[in-house]
């Protein structure tokens, strides 16, 4: 068996979430897997990428050797600016987060619970943690999407009834893409919306730690063209 997890690649997981972004949305991508959302071809949609350090309207990574040493995104990557970009300081950057101007934040997670709680700032048994801007973003963005592997390295489920490690925010997650499929948090619980090619519904059920609402026919995950 190869190193790569079964089902969707990380890029495909992020492509699937990026398809849900609306025209004109202001998007904040978390460090790690979610940064891949910016590789998606948005075609005619205008997407404005915001980063916690006050950059509004950043573009692709700068080519090697052409980095602007004064310009990084929240992951410390040397990005470029799109026409119309603006820069603010950290308090204004979080003012626009807190006041609900971010249409969607895509975050990584260790666990997502069926009620929309999720955990991504503190590993089990750890002292302290790495919160960054995740609590502010998760509490205040209009939509919260999560991109993560379906299981831990030890094969434990990441989609669970209740988070076992400390939560980042309660009841906020709308949509989760894992390598096994696309999941939506609904008022009735967690629903399997689309399934990854080559993965069986029974496998998804067996590797998920909460009840899943599963329609009779589960469509395959829509993939980028």
């Amino acid at each position: 068996m190869s190193e790569r997890a079964k089902g969707l690649s990380r890029q495909q997981m992020c492509d699937r979430l990026a398809m849900e972004f609306g025209d004109g949305w202001i998007v904040n991508l978390g460090i790690g897997i979610p940064t891949l959302c910016s590789n998606f071809d948005f075609s005619d949609k205008q997407i404005i990428f915001h980063s916690e350090n006050g950059v509004i309207g950043y573009g692709p990574l700068a080519p090697a050797g052409e980095e602007d040493m004064h310009l990084v995104n929240a992951g410390g990557q040397h990005v470029t600016l799109e026409p119309g970009a603006a820069i603010v300081h950290h308090a204004d950057s979080f003012a626009l987060i807190r006041s609900g101007r971010i249409d969607v934040t895509v975050l990584g997670a260790y666990e997502v619970a069926e009620n929309g709680d999720f955990a991504n700032w503190k590993m089990a048994g750890q002292q302290g943690g790495g919160i960054g801007g995740a609590m502010d973003l998760a509490s205040c963005a209009k939509h919260v999407f999560v991109a993560m592997e379906h299981q831990t390295r030890d094969g434990k489920p990441r989609l669970v009834e209740r988070c076992a490690i400390p939560a980042t925010a309660r009841g906020v997650v709308n949509l989760v893409a894992t390598n096994f499929g696309l999941f939506e948090i609904t008022a009735q619980g967690m629903a399997l919306r689309e399934i990854a090619p080559g993965v069986k519904v029974e496998e998804v059920r067996a590797t998920t730690g909460c009840n899943l609402i599963i329609p009779r026919e589960v469509p395959p995950v829509r993939l980028a063209q």
């Binding site: 916690e52 600016l81 820069i87 308090a91």
Partner: protein, 248 residues
């Protein structure tokens, strides 16, 4: 002009009077706008029992390998407490100097959501003693703390974070201490300057004469700035490294 000049000729002079027990903030985000030279000066100055505020205690990929960050002050035994948005590594493979001191009970680490950290300093600089925010409601960080419902939503009470000293890095300064930052260099720096009794700035370009920065282009006015030092070119001054020159 009779007021004392804000222009200092050395980093050592600009940090000489930090007393033991002071609350210091260090600006910067992922090395951009990070006061690398002032970290070194404070580490050399040696004040102890410090409370240190910063987004994180470590620099980042573009910090030269032997350049100072808060880790050096921690190893020096200068730090009693840190207030940060990152107090543990975000990957299992990473190791923070801070972690072993926290685990041994030698340093207290207060973990604060990044937006709350920024707003606590903004509030201090704006004369606001406390405020309510939705961040961290329902989490471990809110346990036992005051919350209040406004418009059917729960908010957490947070207190202003006043600073004794702020150490920041700017692109340009005039002799009156008016500052301009470049690109994402702004980050926490203007807010820390507002919150501090004494703001010390390391400046990348030559100090400009008073009036050389158009008033409309000033990001941080000189009333928030007390000491400015021009960063010498390398190897005498610390500058971030280009990614291409970093050994992988």
């Amino acid at each position: 002009m009779s007021a004392r000049s804000k222009v200092y000729s050395s980093f050592d002079d600009a940090v000489r009077d930090i007393p033991d027990g002071a609350t210091l903030a260090f600006g910067g985000f992922a090395v951009v706008g990070m006061p690398i030279n002032l970290y070194q000066a404070v580490a050399k100055q040696g004040a102890k029992r410090l409370t240190c505020v910063s987004n994180s205690t470590r620099g980042g990929a573009t910090l030269p390998a032997d350049a100072p960050d808060m880790g050096q002050m921690i190893k020096n035994g200068q730090v009693e407490k840190v207030i940060c948005a990152f107090t543990a590594p975000t990957r299992a493979s990473q190791r923070l100097i801070l972690s072993e001191y926290v685990e041994k009970g030698l340093i207290e680490a207060e973990l604060v959501p990044q937006g709350t950290l920024a707003e606590r300093m903004r509030a201090a600089g704006a004369g606001i003693p406390a405020f309510y925010t939705p961040a961290a409601v329902g989490t471990e960080l809110a346990e036992g703390r005051e919350t209040r419902v406004f418009n059917r939503r729960e908010y957490l009470l947070e207190h202003a974070l006043p600073l004794d000293y702020a150490f920041i890095r700017a692109y340009q300064a005039d002799a009156a201490g008016n500052l301009r930052f470049r690109r994402s260099q702004r980050n926490f720096n203007p807010i820390m300057a507002m919150a501090a009794r004494v703001t010390v700035v390391e400046v990348e370009e030559d100090i400009l004469p008073v009036g050389a920065i158009d008033p409309d282009d000033v990001h941080t006015p000189g009333i928030f700035v007390h000491r400015i030092v021009k960063i010498p070119p390398p190897p005498d001054g610390w500058w971030p490294q280009r990614p291409g020159s970093i050994k992988q």
